[in-house]
Structures are given as C-alpha cells and as structure tokens.
C-alpha cells in the first residue's frame, strides 16, 4: 500500500512537523491511488496559505494560485476539460474569508469538483491571525482581546448554498478521510469536504486532542440518513458543526448539464475551426 507514492513528487513539505495538513496530503494521494487516476488526468489546485502549498507536493498537474480564488480556478479547469479529476484544496481563511463568495457560488454551480477545506480555524501562513471559523473569544495577534464575531460554520453554510455532497473529517482520522475523499471524487457534482486540520504552531485551542474530544461521528447515529438534507442541517446545528462523516449526499441525478452531458466532447477537445459556411450563416444574423 505504498503505491500512493506515485502521487508524491518527493519534495518535502515546508509545513511544521505535526501540522494537520500532512495527513490531508496523504489522504488525497491515497484516494487518487485507490481510484487509479492517471497522474496526467489529476489536477490539484490550491489557494494561498500553509494549506496552499499542498498542490506543490502532488505528482500531477497542479496550480497554486492567489488567495481566495481556488474555486473559480478549479471550475475554469473543469469546465475546460470535464474528463479531468479536479481536486481543489485551501485553508479556512482562503475559502471562508476572502473566498466565501466563490465557495458558495461553486456549491450552487455544482460542477463535478472535490473541494477539500484544510480547516485549522486560524491563519497559519500569516503567523496566527484569527479566521472566520475561529471561535468567539479566540485570542490571536489580530484579536488580542478575543474574537468578537459569530464564527461561520462551513457545514451549515454549504448546505444552505445548495451542497449536493458534504462531508467532514479530521486529520487524525485518516481512514475516514480517505473514504470520504474517494466518495467525494466519485460524487457526480460538487463535493465539499471540510477537514479539521490542527495548526500545532498557532492554534493552541483546537488541538488534536480537542478535536478528538469534541467531534462526533454521524455514522454512530443509527437513524442518521445522509440523504436527508433537513436531518443533515439539524445535525450540524445541534453539534455546532463538530461532526464528521458523510453529512449529506443528494440522491437525485445531477441536473447541471454544463459539463455532465455525456454526449458532448470536453471543451478542450472541440474542433476550433468553424467552416466558411457556418461563418456565412453567422454573418447572416447581422444582415
């Protein structure tokens, strides 16, 4: 089971030893291996943050862009070539501060992309500033008297924006995470996987131990039905977002035929030349 190394480019990550992000990198690599995605058909895009470095360690096409714009970048790639497996990854700041708009609109656009949030509830790369996902009272360099604002909860928000697949996991739960990433990639539509990924250097509150103590696994609830969006919403509200597992997956067929339509070729494979006849016809429209 080391064939996932095929998806590693042998560069040693610049993360702090113990950072939760390692586990997610491995999770993506193992999932890719399980699904036997050819390296050249995998595209990993990331935002900016410690999390953003992830794409630089995957042996595939990969794009490390600008802060908060990982979603439009990933969508552009998927729209261009629907045959690719596109995985986007980014920090909680990247996706829920500067990038919130894009995250929500990506959810409602529902293209077949898997978006993994590396959620450490803090800004790692800028050396410990508060994040919109930080809890109230959280003390950081930018909130010396404790964060004031009501934290955003990625799960609830994603469901509200029309998520067709929502999962949550934790860097400490490798197996669960891998399973969910595989499911997410397999889901025919947009999948958001919010992974709690401790920042051991700057977040002294939401530590590995803290998550272990506070997270509940939805699969432990026998009656839980992950195809029921209202139940999913309630679960998220009850646990204040601190639950893991497959939270919600829409049963119905994906309705967005922008790229789903099997009959049409990927944009990148379309013939670019338009015949003189067609051109003349187009010109007629102007006469």
């Amino acid at each position: 089971m080391t064939s996932f190394k095929k998806y590693s480019n042998d560069i040693s990550p610049s993360w702090c030893p113990g950072c939760g992000h390692y586990s997610i990198l491995r999770g993506i690599q193992v999932a890719a291996d399980k699904l036997k995605i050819p390296n050249e058909n995998l595209v990993v895009t990331t935002g900016i943050g410690c999390s953003g470095r992830l794409s630089g360690y995957v042996n595939s096409y990969s794009f490390h862009g600008i802060h908060g714009r990982v979603m439009p970048l990933a969508q552009g790639i998927k729209l261009a070539n629907k045959e690719l497996t596109v995985i986007a990854a980014g920090g909680d700041g990247d996706g829920f501060a500067i990038g919130t708009n894009h995250t929500l609109h990506a959810l409602r656009r529902n293209l077949n992309i898997t978006y993994i949030v590396l959620n450490n509830q803090i800004y790692g790369l800028t050396k410990g500033h508060t994040s919109p996902l930080s809890d109230q009272g959280f003390v950081t360099k930018s909130t010396p008297e404790g964060a004031e604002d009501i934290p955003l909860r990625p799960g609830v928000l994603s469901l509200s924006a029309g998520a067709t697949f929502l999962a949550q996991s934790f860097s400490g739960f490798q197996q669960q995470m891998i399973d969910l990433i595989v499911k997410g990639i397999e889901h025919e539509g947009f999948s958001l996987i919010n992974v709690f990924s401790p920042c051991i250097t700057f977040n002294k509150t939401n530590t590995y131990q803290w998550y272990r103590e506070n997270l509940v696994d939805v699969s432990e609830d026998k009656d839980y039905d992950s195809s029921n969006s209202q139940m999913a919403m309630m679960k998220l509200m009850e646990t204040d977002g601190l639950c893991t597992g497959l939270i919600y997956q829409q049963n119905e067929e994906n309705t967005n035929d922008l790229i789903v339509d099997v009959d049409t070729k990927a944009l990148v494979n379309q013939d670019l030349t338009i015949s003189q006849e067609d051109f003349n016809h187009l010109m007629k429209g102007f006469i």
Binding site: S55, H64, N101, L267
Partner: protein
C-alpha cells in the same frame, strides 16, 4: 440627392428608440448604404431622454456628422437638445402629442405625426417603433416592399397577436397622408452596389471574432457597456460546444477564464473599468504563471461607478501600468468594428504564442455604435496555438525532468496542458524555477522575470500603428473610436489634410515605429478622451520628445465631434 444624410431619433428611454434606429440602419444596409450611429442613453431603464444619431452614406461612414438633416422627436427634450444641430432646410418629425415651441421658417419644416396614436390603435404600445420606422423610411424614400419584408422577418417569430398589431401599425403609417412637399423628403444618392451589408457593434464583432478564433469558454459578469460580448457569446457558444457562464463577480470571471486557458481552452472574459480594477490581481497571476487568457475592456467613464453609459478612454493607464509588481501583458486597441473582429482573433493567437494575458480595449462608442460594415473576411481567421506540445512530443518527455518554464532564448517555453501524458508539472503564482516549483533564489528570480519580459520584446519592433498618409508633416494620432472621427474630419477638408494614425497595439508599445514617426513628422497631435493625457503620457514616457508631441483631450463623457477635429486642423 445627397451622398450623406444624418438624422436623430429621440425620445423617452424604454420606447424602443434604439431599436427603431437599428432597424432603419439594417434596412438601409440591405439596400447597399452604409450607416453609423451614436447612442445617447442614461443609466436608467425607463424614462430619461435617449437618442440614436445616424449618418447614412453611399460610402463607408465611421462617425456621425455634427449636423442633422432630420429630427424625429418622441419627446420635447429631443428637440431642445438637437434643434441647434439641424441644417438649414431641415425637417422635424414629431409625435403629435408633444408640445412644440419651435416654429417653422428659415427653411425649417415641422411635421407632426400620429405615432402614439397609431401605436395605441394597433393594440400594443411597442408598435410605436414600427410606426417610426415606417414614416422615416417614407421620408427617406425607401422602397415599401423592403420595409414590409423586413417587418415580416422581424416579427415572424413573435406571437400572432404581436405580428397583427405591428401590421396594423405599419399599414396605417403607410396610408397616412404625410402632406410633405417632395423637397423635404431626403433623397440619398443610389448606392454603388446594392448588396446587403452586415450591421454590427464593436462588442459583437469582438464576440464573433473570439468564436471564430476558437474561444470556447467565457465566464463573465454583466456590465455596461460590455455586456453584449457575453450576450452574443451566450447565444452562439452552445452551438459550437462552448460555454458562456454568468458568474458571481469579475474576479471569478477572470480567474475561471484563466483556469480554462491553463487547461487548454481558449478562454476570455469581458468587462468595463470597474471590472478591470477588480481583475488586476488575477491578471498578474496569469502573467506570472504564463497562462493565455483574453480580457476585453469596453471602456466607460471612470473612476468608480463614474458614468456607466458615457464614453471615455481612461483605462489606458491602469491597463498599461496597473497591477502590483512587474509583469508583461499585451494590449490591443482596435479602432473599427472590422478591427474588433480581427484583433479578437489576433488576441487569442498572441495569448497562446506569448503565453500571457492579452487585453482587447474598446471604448463605449466603438463597442456600442451600431453601424454598417463590409463583410468580414473569413480568410483573416487563423488559429495559431504557439508552443503547445503535441501528444507525440509529450510521449518523449521525462516527466521528472520536464521544465515547463524553461528559460530559453525567446523566453517562450513549450507548454503542456492537463491531460497530456508526462507533461504534468507544478504551476504557482509565487516566483518559481524552470520546473515551476516555488523558489526564493535571487538568481532564479532575476532570470525568470527577465524571461517573461523577453518574450514580448519582439513585438516592440513590429509595426502596430496604422498610418494614413496625406503628405502632411503633421500627424493626428488616436486610438479606438476617435480614429473614425478624425478620418471623417480629414475626409471633409479639401486640403491641406493632416496624416492620421491609430495605435493598434498599446503594449508593448511599438517603439521602433513610433521613433520613426517622430523622426518623420514635425508635429504629432495625440487625441484622446480622458483627463490625464494617458496615451500622450505613455508615448512620451517611452520616447521623450515632449516638444514634438502635443495633446488634445476631452473628458466630458462624449467623444470628439468632427467639428472639433476640423477646428484643430485649422489651428495648425
């Protein structure tokens, strides 16, 4: 008999004024005439005066005349705004409902027409447009069959009821006794050829060019005066396996287009000033990651929300100098609708050849002025994809050694796109080495920024200024729609005529050709619509010669009139 004739149709926004003007232009163009129109509108949907000024001629027209032969007024404001422009012997047609404080005399003829009445009686108020078209075509002596044929085509897809109402309207208007002396009817000379010509706006020409160039992805966010680019693409792209997508904002639009360009699809977006400001960071990303992408900027009055429906050319500075850090882009500036089409195609070729963002800059007048053009040339369509590695080439590559950003002589590194075997590599908007991996090495940084700029240097040596020589030692230089106004002004004078030129590529600036022009001419006068003399400054920054280059600017939200240019010519 006249070779050229000008008229305005004006009224309350929402009454179908522009649509009437467009129809007249289409009808005239089918007859072999050329027309050019200027739209006057405000940033509101209904209410407020709007007008379309149209100049028709037997030869190509690329600006409206200053004087008018006919005013068609559906409100009083139209008369008060345009009265002064009416030629002696001019004609005012107006809806009989509006009060007139202008009186006949001095050759002026005023004719009330039952426009509102006809519309009302026809059962649908929007048939007012049909009535206007009918009356105007009668005055212009356009054959009745032409008009009816046009109407029938136009309304054939509409509901029976609507067709019927319109038919009632045009029939009434045809039958109505205008009681107008033949001398007031405006007769145009017979056109040279009677072949039907296309009617287009710059925004549509850009879209059509993009489509023909193989653009298959257009994420965009609507904004006046650029929305027509996305609207046309939205109509045609699905027919050619492409996608136009209205997205959440301009940042998403350009970033998605960059994603598309990276993944190998010719992609573009279109916006105006506010959108350009928002796209700045991402354009820098496309440049440092060497991704081809095309961005259209149809300019309006800035800064900020500014005057969304008014004309200006004030994004030049920000396009040329803007964005944090140093990075290359290519900026094309078409000056006619035909050039909009050609430059759109060129933009995609340059973007892939030089692997960088290409910005296509229009102004409101060029983007929106409805006009007759000569048929666009299919032979001008060439698709050149630059250093894109083929599958065969990729198969021979060792993926571990692949240098996507190899620092070779030209600075242009062969490119692989996702899906291509062995070609996978990392791309980062952080400074990176030849393999694409992030680096903070000073030597590599220096080499890579030099490589990126080296790529586009050859363009500076090429000829990207269109010059029309008239044997003068003075050159009037402009870009965008201003070139049309200057051309028409020069055409009007007997002699001495100044030489005229349009800059067709703003960045990299065609330094060599400019230097030659500076040697050749005693004076170069730069005309532009902005406050800070942006084009003038860009040229003088690059070339000096402050004493030889002069600047004429206008920044009140309107373009130059022919008269203003003629006056400048007189001052030389």
């Amino acid at each position: 008999m006249k070779n050229k004739l000008s008229f305005v149709i004006g009224g309350i926004q929402g009454e179908g004024i522009v649509s009437a003007g467009e129809s007249i232009i289409k009808i005239l163009s089918r007859l072999g005439y050329y027309a050019y129109s200027a739209r006057k509108f405000s940033s509101r949907i209904k209410g407020g005066n709007t007008a379309i000024i149209i100049t028709v001629g037997t030869e190509r027209v690329i600006a409206v005349e200053d004087k008018l032969d006919i005013i068609v007024a559906l409100d009083q404001e139209t008369i008060s705004i345009y009265r002064d422009k009416l030629e002696e012997g001019g004609l005012i047609l107006h809806d009989e409902g509006i009060e007139m404080d202008v009186v006949e005399g001095n050759g002026l003829k005023i004719k009330p027409l039952p426009l509102t009445k006809i519309a009302k009686e026809s059962g649908a108020s929007i048939t007012k447009t049909t009535a206007i078209i009918t009356f105007l075509s009668r005055i212009l002596d356009i054959p009745k069959e032409m008009i009816i044929k046009y109407f029938e085509e136009r309304f054939s897809h509409k509901s029976d009821k609507l067709l019927q109402s319109n038919k009632t309207a045009w029939e009434t208007a045809f039958e109505y006794d205008i009681e107008l002396d033949d001398k007031y009817k405006k007769q145009l000379s017979v056109p040279k050829e009677t072949k039907g010509r296309p009617v287009m706006i710059g925004n549509e020409a850009v879209a059509l060019g993009a489509l023909m160039a193989g653009c298959r992805l257009m994420p965009a966010y609507p904004i006046t005066p650029a929305s027509e680019v996305m609207e046309y693409m939205g109509k045609v792209l699905p027919q050619y396996g492409g996608i136009m997508l209205q997205v959440e904002d301009e940042i998403a639009a350009v970033t998605m287009a960059i994603g598309g360009g990276y993944a190998g699809v010719r992609s573009m977006t279109a916006t105006s000033g506010p959108g350009i400001s928002l796209m700045t960071e991402a354009i820098g990303m496309a440049s440092i990651t060497e991704v081809p992408v095309v961005i259209v900027d149809t300019q309006r009055v800035g800064p900020s929300t500014g005057m969304p429906t008014k004309h200006e050319q004030s994004d030049l500075f920000t396009l040329y100098y803007g964005g944090h850090g140093d990075y290359p882009t290519i900026i094309l500036t078409p000056s006619t609708v035909e050039e909009c089409f050609e430059d759109a195609i060129e933009a995609f070729n340059l973007a892939e050849k030089y692997q960088c963002p290409v910005i296509l800059v229009l102004d409101l007048d060029l983007g929106l002025s409805i006009q007759t053009i000569d048929s666009l040339d299919y032979c001008k369509i060439k698709i050149e994809r630059g250093e894109l590695l083929t599958n065969d080439e990729l198969r021979n590559i060792d993926s571990k050694e692949f240098k996507r950003f190899i620092d070779n002589e030209t600075g242009i590194s062969p490119r692989s796109i996702p899906g291509g075997v062995n070609g996978f590599h990392h791309v980062t908007a952080v400074e990176h080495n030849e393999k694409g991996l992030p680096t903070e090495d000073t030597t590599v940084r220096k080499r890579m920024i030099e490589k990126r700029f080296r790529k586009i240097e050859p363009l500076q040596q090429q000829e990207h200024i269109k010059v029309i020589e008239n044997g003068s030692d003075t050159l009037f230089l402009a870009l965008g729609s201003t070139f049309g106004v200057i051309s028409e002004a020069v055409n009007l004078v007997e002699s001495p005529k100044v030489d005229i030129a349009a800059i067709r590529m703003l960045r990299p600036l065609p330094i060599k050709q400019l230097a030659n022009l500076l040697k050749k001419y005693k004076d170069i006068v730069v005309f532009e619509n902005n406050y800070r003399k942006q084009l003038y400054a860009i040229i003088t920054e690059a070339l000096g010669y402050h004493d030889k280059i002069h600047s004429v600017t206008k920044y009140d939200g309107t373009s130059f009139s022919i008269g203003e240019i003629t006056k400048k010519m007189g001052e030389i």
